[in-house]
């Protein structure tokens, strides 16, 4: 049947911004992300006890509940939790950044190639992707941690090694859809080089979906990283890390609840920010297939 509603107004940058700012949760998400990034970058400058971020002991001040001197209380050796949470945030964000910087371009290029060239390229790449997807990221990280020493580097390696698959899949499906459209054919007929077609014609159309995915991914990578260090496979003490803090603090539940609950809340906070931001971007760009 014929559509009875008039067409929605055309999109452009201003319209997008308008739609984004109208969405309260999206704005909240963006603010949270901004806040976390700022805190992470300025960590040494703004935290009350920056020296507590590493190894430091003050046994007289162990297990102090939250107070004005120690906003988040102190942990089992007397270090200020608030400082350590901020530094832990820094580590989490750095982890997300590194993983995505590696995984996204790698995955996107693979997806482009698979979607554009088809044939054997497509089959090989997509089957590889299927295999990689069959391994739960956590399990992969476990395996890596098992054979190499547990460390931040190895954790990042493990996660990146699997993360690109999501982006390959995403870019692949978009490329396939776009590939058959006319402007690609036009570019081909006009003799544009393959590189040009891939990067200047197809890729820009993927940007909105990518932006949404990257934003959502940042949250998930942080969660996985936290789970890894919770299990003892990520960053090793005494470096401040949210996951290890929760694990260490879990022993003292429910009495010294602040030692594990507050870092956990911080993880939730930053993941929430990225999630809301990603959702907001998704609504703004009106992208459908991104999870």
């Amino acid at each position: 049947m014929t559509d009875l509603t008039p067409a929605a107004p055309l999109s452009n940058a201003w319209q997008n911004w308008y739609r984004f700012s109208r969405n309260p949760t999206a704005v909240i998400g963006a603010l949270i992300v901004l806040l976390c990034i700022t805190l992470a970058i300025l960590a040494p400058l703004i935290t009350p006890y920056p020296e507590h971020a590493g190894s430091f002991v003050d046994f007289r001040n162990r297990h102090q509940p939250p107070s004005w001197q120690h906003l988040f209380g102190t942990d089992n050796v007397g270090r200020d939790n608030f400082t350590r949470v901020i530094f832990g945030l820094r580590v989490s964000l750095a982890l997300a950044f590194v993983v995505l910087i590696i995984a996204v371009p790698f995955g996107a290029v693979l997806g482009l190639l698979a979607g554009y060239y088809g044939g054997w390229t497509e089959i090989v790449i997509m089957r590889l992707t299927d295999i990689a997807l069959a391994i739960p990221p956590l399990v992969m990280a476990l395996a890596v941690a098992a054979v190499a020493a547990p460390s931040l580097f190895n954790a990042m390696l493990a996660i990146s090694a699997l993360w690109w698959t999501w982006h390959t899949r995403l870019i692949y499906s978009i490329t396939r859809q776009i590939r058959s459209q006319e402007f690609v054919e036009a570019a081909e007929t006009l003799g544009a080089s393959k590189a040009h077609i891939l990067f200047r014609e197809i890729l820009p159309n993927c940007v909105s979906a990518l932006a949404v995915k990257v934003s959502l991914d940042a949250g998930f990578v942080i969660l996985i990283g936290a789970s890894l260090s919770f299990l003892g496979l990520g960053i090793q003490p005494p470096t401040a890390d949210l996951g290890t803090m929760v694990a260490a603090g879990a022993e003292y539940l429910p009495d010294y609840w602040w030692e594990s609950m507050l870092p956990a809340a911080a993880i939730l906070f930053v993941a929430l920010g990225f999630n809301l931001l990603g959702d907001g971007l998704r609504d703004m760009f009106d992208v459908e297939d991104v999870r």
Partner: protein, 270 residues
């Protein structure tokens, strides 16, 4: 008296804060057993009219600003919802446009037909058990000239050809012995030969069962074959109406003339 009579219907739509009048004082009358057509290009308002008659307009964005729709003398617009529902799909039935998308892909044809019949019976307080319903389903499938009604009833829509699916849609409309059949662009999703078959089927059925038919279309060729009387719509208004043959031979309005002239001709015949 007409079976269906639309009197001075005006409808407005409100979206994104803007209100637009889409129908301006549309009037048409369909006597029982008559075969009529409502013609117009896309955006002329013919779909809105059709939906208004069937009661399928989403009422928040749409609003009836004036007019009445009388079926058998009663105004549909002021009727109780329950009574209106009792008419829909029973006395007043619709043949949908796109056979591919109008059939539920995950249920068999027979299942869909008997479900519709089950709830139609309920609305009409007619007592019929499952066997009786199934018999009626097969009967109707035979009416639309399916060679193997049993097999079709047990098939999923994806297993049938386009022409067969369209015939299923017609069968759907005929289940409860309606008195008015509204056909929405019948056969436009099909190739020309199949479309011709469908139209012939439609015409035969309507004549045999003495149904009133309102055909909504933008295809003038179709109109000449099947409708005795035609209404021409443009920008939400009826701009011309009359007996089909007369209308085609001597159109009064410029728009009608343009519409007729726009039909590509293979021969010199009018």
């Amino acid at each position: 008296m007409s079976l269906l009579s639309v009197e001075n219907l005006s409808i407005s739509f409100t979206t994104y804060g803007r209100t637009t009048e889409v129908l301006h004082g549309v009037s048409l009358a369909i006597p029982a057993g008559a075969q009529m057509a409502l013609v117009g290009e896309s955006g002329s308002g013919k779909s809105v009219t059709m939906k208004a008659i069937m009661g399928l307009l989403p009422m928040p964005p749409a609003r009836i600003t004036a007019g009445r729709i009388l079926f058998d003398g009663t105004d549909l617009l002021t009727m109780r919802e329950r009574d209106r529902l009792a008419l829909r799909g029973t006395a007043m039935s619709m043949v949908f446009q796109d056979p591919m998308s109008s059939l539920n892909p995950v249920w068999t044809v027979g299942d869909q037909l008997s479900t519709i019949l089950k709830y139609a019976d309920r609305r009409l307080a007619r007592d019929r058990d499952r066997k009786g319903r199934w018999a009626r389903v097969l009967e109707v499938l035979a009416q639309v000239r399916m060679r193997e009604p049993e097999r079709v009833a047990g098939s999923f829509p994806i297993m049938l050809s386009g022409g067969m699916r369209q015939r299923v849609l017609i069968a759907m409309a005929l289940l409860s012995q309606p008195r008015l059949l509204i056909a929405d662009e019948p056969g436009t999703a099909l190739d020309v030969t199949t479309q011709a078959q469908i139209l012939k089927l439609l015409k035969d059925l309507v004549t045999d069962q003495k149904l009133a038919l309102l055909m909504i279309t933008h295809n003038l060729g179709v109109v000449r074959e099947t409708a005795a009387y035609t209404y021409v719509m443009h920008k939400g208004r009826i701009v011309e109406q009359g007996e089909t043959a007369a209308l085609f031979d001597a159109p009064q309005q410029q728009y009608t003339r343009d519409l007729i002239a726009a039909v590509p001709r293979l021969t010199g015949r009018a």
